[in-house]
């Protein structure tokens, strides 16, 4: 259970990225956060694992306060939360397997990890994670030799290798083409359903949000403006979240059509 309690994030320089947000996310949910760029989607996601410090209120994950966690508690908390990024954040110059093994660092001793002596069971977990996203045949290939969609699946495998309770995905398909976007979203959906991992995804495209989300949360200027079942989110709701009429850029299929 993730709980935002009147949480606010104000960046240095005075930008209010998140304002007084209260939100509960039960275990096992597939939640999609929508909003314009700058609405606070990335901040919301990064407040959960403490990559962005909360300046007022608090966020708790399974009762553990993120704001008041010691560095050790924070690392422990993060080990239970996998993260997927818009730009994949892989190390290009090393193998896919080495990238996925980063997800096992939290249980590996410092000296052992400095020497690169991962335990056999950790390598097995990493391989299984790669199998789950159907890319295990690339385990010993350099990450830079993969396509964007393949790289994002390695990113998902890295998150899975942590054996997390929660997965955070920050705009996971924004750098991908429409068909690949669906592959990645389906992977996330499958992981959510089969492993029961709470999955929180930031998305820009409304049609993707409607197809893959159980629940949709809308943000505008750092404030919660919508919270409900994906089925209840119609065009009017999105218009309200975006504060303007919808355009073709807001829909993935329209983007696909314009490319084709």
């Amino acid at each position: 259970m993730i709980r935002f309690e009147n949480a606010s994030v104000t960046y240095r320089g005075g930008v209010h990225a998140l304002r007084n947000l209260t939100l509960e996310i039960p275990d096992g949910e597939m939640l999609v956060i929508v909003g314009l760029s700058g609405a606070g989607k990335s901040t919301l996601i990064r407040a959960i694992n403490g990559l962005v410090p909360i300046t007022d209120g608090d966020v708790t994950v399974d009762g553990q306060s993120v704001r008041h966690a010691t560095p050790r508690q924070l690392r422990q908390l993060r080990s239970k939360i996998g993260m997927i990024f818009q730009t994949f954040n892989l190390v290009n110059r090393t193998s896919v397997l080495n990238n996925v093994l980063m997800g096992r660092l939290h249980t590996t001793g410092t000296l052992r990890s400095l020497a690169g002596m991962y335990k056999a069971q950790d390598i097995e977990i990493a391989m299984q994670a790669l199998e789950r996203v159907d890319i295990v045949e690339k385990a010993y290939v350099r990450a830079s030799n993969l396509s964007g969609g393949q790289q994002q699946r390695v990113g998902i495998a890295r998150a899975l290798a942590q054996q997390p309770k929660i997965i955070l995905a920050d705009e996971p398909v924004a750098s991908l083409d429409p068909p690949t976007s669906h592959v990645v979203m389906r992977d996330l959906q499958r992981i959510n359903r089969e492993l029961g991992i709470t999955t929180i995804v930031n998305l820009h495209f409304l049609d993707l949000a409607k197809v893959y989300a159980q629940r949709i949360v809308g943000l505008r200027a750092g404030e919660l403006v919508f919270d409900g079942d994906a089925g209840h989110a119609d065009e009017n709701v999105f218009r309200d979240i975006y504060g303007r009429s919808l355009t073709a850029d807001d829909v993935l299929e329209a983007k696909a059509a314009s490319i084709a």
């Binding site: 690392r75 954040n89 980063m102």
Partner: protein, 268 residues
């Protein structure tokens, strides 16, 4: 094109910076001052040509190396090579963690960063010959003070170059490492090191080559290696013997250069 289509929002071209013409003027003034009779070093083209002619017998001897002297240079050459190997391994080894301590990307505290960079600047500001002189005074004549001088020199060079490379790495993997609950050592090892490893190898090979070359100067102050032989023969005006050592150094440096190019191509 008609002027009627110009929009009012089009900005006025900014005034060019005065810095460039000012820089040219300063450069010309400095050149003039250096060449002038009163202020300058008294560079005289006619004298230069005269002096070149006087060096002719020396150049002739240098052009005909005395190969029978070769066996006597082998020992010092090996010593130079060994000094360079030891100094490179220790110096570059120490420089690796230091360069992470000297980069904004891989440190959190401002104080540690500032202190590390300041110490590195001091280490680099002192030339290797001066280190060698200090260490010769401290531990006596021989290869040991030379090795110590080269170690400090290598730390200064590699840590400087590598920390600047670390400053420019992709921060994405670092964020990924932090988000996964890895500690900072683990994040640097698996998120940053693979990104800079080819550069690190290249810088280390480069300093190794510099160490071979530095041996000529280090020998003059008594810090061991081929420089000592070279300097002794120079003082006796045995130019054809000096020539042998120079040719050997040349061959060694070119060989190392070729090996390092080959190695770098395989790594990058």
């Amino acid at each position: 094109m008609t002027s009627a289509t110009r929009s009012a929002a089009r900005p006025v071209k900014p005034r060019p910076s005065l810095l460039v013409p000012l820089g040219i003027v300063v450069f010309l003034l400095l050149t003039a001052a250096s060449l002038s009779k009163q202020l300058g070093i008294g560079l005289d083209a006619a004298g230069l040509i005269d002096d070149l002619g006087r060096g002719r017998p020396i150049l002739e001897q240098l052009a005909s190396p005395n190969w029978s002297y070769l066996p006597e240079t082998i020992g010092p050459m090996i010593e130079t090579f060994q000094m360079a190997v030891i100094a490179s391994i220790i110096g570059c080894g120490v420089a690796l963690p230091v360069s992470f301590m000297a980069s904004r990307v891989t440190t959190s505290g401002r104080v540690g960063l500032f202190v590390t960079r300041w110490v590195l600047n001091v280490v680099r500001a002192i030339p290797d010959v001066l280190y060698a002189m200090i260490f010769v005074a401290a531990v006596g004549i021989g290869p040991l003070p030379g090795i110590m001088a080269l170690i400090l020199f290598n730390i200064g060079v590699v840590a400087k170059l590598l920390s600047e490379t670390v400053d420019g790495v992709d921060p994405g993997p670092i964020e990924a490492g932090r988000a996964s609950g890895a500690n900072s050592f683990q994040t640097v090892r698996w998120g940053v090191l693979p990104q800079v490893l080819p550069h690190y190898v290249a810088y280390s090979l480069y300093t190794f080559e510099l160490n071979i070359r530095a041996s000529t100067v280090l020998g003059i102050v008594g810090a061991g290696g081929i420089g000592r032989t070279l300097f002794a023969q120079y003082k006796l005006f045995h130019w054809s013997n000096v020539s042998v050592a120079i040719v050997e150094l040349f061959v060694l440096v070119v060989a190392i250069e070729a090996i390092s190019i080959w190695l770098r191509r395989r790594l990058v």
